[in-house]
């Protein structure tokens, strides 16, 4: 990992956010398996560093788009976990008033467009947001998070090409967790790195250890700076691993055991703890305390979410159009 140029406050913030995501996800998984929570989920345990590293390089008024696996991105971008938990429970107080659900989490006030559950479908949206920033001469940046699998969709190619030819302030962030659903990336992509794909659009492509939040942060910072300078998009490939199933109830038997084992040892939070404590930047106690605070926070959030009001059935009829006729 990088050397000691960050304040402890910054590093602990990084840690805190990653743990917040992890605990949120673990708790949600539990609620699902208990049958308490409706719907379906795709979770990001093991991929926290990419969400956090990228979003910490962003300003509040920058905008992200996400996928079927959006919880981590949302938390990292600052969407309230209460409004997220409420949404997962289908409550009227949810960030989408119960209309979206897990796969469409988002909050425009926090700079997150509702997540898109169609693989690849969010990439043009982020590109379009960046177009708006550029046309209005705002110094804002848009980020499209996507999985490795998404880079095989036509939408990826079309959007990245336009981002490139128009020099838009957008980051294409590929979280390469080695699988698209159950499909190993090597089965569907022939080149070594997905970042190699950047070359045909004549934009920079970078592959980074996606489980190192500082490395992610630094790569994102550089790409963001470039975008803000008006020099166009970057394709950022973050190497990571999903240490949970693809979706609800997936035992992920397609992942080799030893690969899984290595991935667990390499998961970002444990690694970051080791880094912080091992380099005497802080103590295990301090980190444990953060963990405990977050646990408490999430507990409260769950309790409140369960108490929150359901939408009325007829609320289904609202929110179709701005203008009623």
């Amino acid at each position: 990992m990088s050397d000691n140029k960050y304040s402890l406050e910054f590093l602990l913030e990084m840690y805190r956010k990653m743990v917040l995501i992890r605990q949120f996800e673990d708790r949600v998984k539990f609620l699902f398996l208990e049958g308490i929570m409706p719907g379906t989920i795709h979770q990001c345990q093991g991929q926290e560093a990419s969400a956090v590293g990228v979003c910490m390089a962003l300003n509040e008024d920058d905008v992200i788009t996400s996928t079927h696996r959006p919880h981590g991105h949302a938390i990292a971008k600052g969407v309230s976990i209460q409004s997220m938990m409420d949404e997962l429970f289908g409550k009227i107080t949810g960030c989408c008033k119960g209309k979206g659900g897990s796969m469409h989490i988002g909050d425009l006030d926090k700079g997150m467009i509702p997540a898109v559950a169609i693989v690849g479908g969010n990439i043009p949206l982020a590109t379009g947001a960046a177009l708006a920033f550029k046309m209005r001469k705002e110094k804002r940046v848009a980020v499209s998070f996507m999985g490795d699998g998404a880079t095989n969709e036509g939408a990826f190619h079309e959007a990245v090409n336009m981002g490139a030819i128009w020099n838009l302030p957008v980051l294409y962030v590929v979280e390469n967790n080695l699988y698209g659903a159950s499909t190993p990336v090597g089965m569907v992509v022939r080149t070594k790195n997905i970042s190699d794909r950047a070359a045909i659009y004549d934009i920079p492509g970078v592959t980074v250890d996606g489980n190192d939040p500082i490395a992610v942060y630094e790569a994102a910072q550089e790409a963001v700076a470039r975008a803000r300078r008006g020099e166009g998009p970057t394709l950022l490939e973050l190497m990571t691993y999903r240490i949970t199933g693809h979706s609800r109830r997936d035992p992920a038997l397609y992942q080799p055991k030893d690969e899984k084992q290595r991935a667990k040892e390499n998961e970002p939070i444990g690694r970051f703890r080791k880094y912080l404590v091992g380099n005497d930047l802080t103590s295990a106690d301090v980190l444990d305390k953060i963990d405990a605070e977050i646990e408490e926070e999430i507990e409260k959030v769950v309790v409140q979410a369960q108490k929150a009001a359901d939408p009325k059935p007829e609320d289904a009829l609202e929110d179709m159009f701005v203008e009623s006729i």
């Binding site: 209309k99 949206l125 947001a129 708006a132 046309m135 079309e158 159009f321 006729i325």
Partner: protein
């Protein structure tokens, strides 16, 4: 007041809206290439001179640029995105149906997608992949509004309404109605020009118009079929049958009240459409009329439509495919017997 065809009226409307509101921009293929055509049907011709930064020529990538327009709209811009032929919307269905149409609802009403999509339709001697009346395919879609302007007056008024609306609106234009002169002259082209008032008028969302009053039968059709219905009504008049012709102008939302008033009077109703009958627009209109106003009906409504086939190329087959004026006349007479 001046006389304009649909292509000119749209161009005028786009120009005015872009001048009025700097959030408005156009995005599409070949829309603003110097020495080019202003899109496939001259609608945006020359606009790049007035708005060099707001006319975006895209690569051939419909899904991509529709999604880009959607993203830009959510950030507060007001894109007018066009495809050269409505058939190419099949390439962009994911973005249009899964994002443009649903973003607002999915967000619980937080997102706005103030976006206009323009698309030329119609069976015009180009074979089956440049011929589809794609408005039909969007009828089941929830979250967009659908307009079909048949005259230059309406095209301009609807364009203004659409650009100013905070919701996504699709405008389906007919290739044979753009104009009948110059680069747009086509075999079968029909003069749909109008006297355009100087005032800044609009056409309200969801308001139909009675193009011709009558008392024996109500004929409902949009775009080219509306004009054919008018011609048929003239012929019917000569034969002693008084047909009322309704141009819905908007398929979504549909102006049931105007239809109701008419059906109360005539008790007989038929729809005319240019695409296949199966799953067509007529189905929705007829089923609604039957549910809503069966007491007023003296006879079951009928749908005149193209046969359930792909669109053929050769002129005799193509003519057979598209409902002709005589077909409308015959069907109306049959209905009244």
């Amino acid at each position: 007041m001046k006389r304009l065809g649909i292509a000119e009226a749209l161009r005028e409307g786009i120009r005015q809206e872009m001048a009025r509101d700097e959030r408005v921009f156009c995005i599409g293929e070949d829309i603003a290439i110097p020495g080019g055509w202003g899109g496939a049907f001259t609608v945006t011709l020359g606009l790049e001179k007035d708005f060099p930064d707001r006319m975006l020529n895209t690569p051939i990538a419909e899904n991509g640029f529709m999604g880009i327009a959607c993203g830009a709209a959510m950030m507060g811009l007001r894109p007018i995105a066009d495809v050269q032929y409505s058939d190419f919307l099949f390439c962009a269905m994911d973005q249009v149906c899964n994002n443009v149409a649903k973003m607002r609802y999915m967000s619980g009403g937080k997102a706005k997608v103030p976006m206009v999509i323009r698309a030329p339709v119609g069976v015009t001697g180009r074979g089956s992949q440049h011929a589809q009346n794609m408005e039909t395919f969007f009828m089941p879609l929830q979250g967009v509004r659908i307009a079909c302007p048949a005259t230059a007056y309406d095209a301009l008024g609807i364009l203004r309404t659409a650009v100013r609306s905070d919701d996504p609106i699709m405008i389906f234009e007919h290739k044979l109605l753009y104009g009948s002169k110059g680069a747009r002259a086509e075999s079968g082209a029909f003069d749909a020009s109008s006297d355009i008032p100087d005032e800044d008028y609009t056409v309200p969302i969801g308001k139909a118009v009675v193009r011709k009053e009558g008392k024996d039968i109500t004929i409902i059709g949009t775009l080219l079929m509306m004009h054919r219905a008018l011609q048929a009504a003239e012929q019917l008049e000569k034969q002693g049958i008084s047909a009322e012709v309704i141009d819905p102008r908007w398929l979504v939302p549909f102006d049931l009240e105007t239809v109701r008033k008419s059906v109360r009077k005539t008790g007989a109703v038929m729809t005319v459409e240019e695409s296949a009958k199966q799953g067509g627009i007529g189905a929705e209109i007829v089923a609604t009329i039957v549910e809503e106003m069966s007491d007023d009906l003296k006879a079951p409504p009928i749908r005149l439509a193209a046969p359930n086939t792909v669109v053929p190329f050769a002129p005799p087959m193509e003519k057979f495919y598209i409902p002709q004026v005589e077909d409308i006349v015959d069907a109306a007479k049959k209905l009244l017997n």
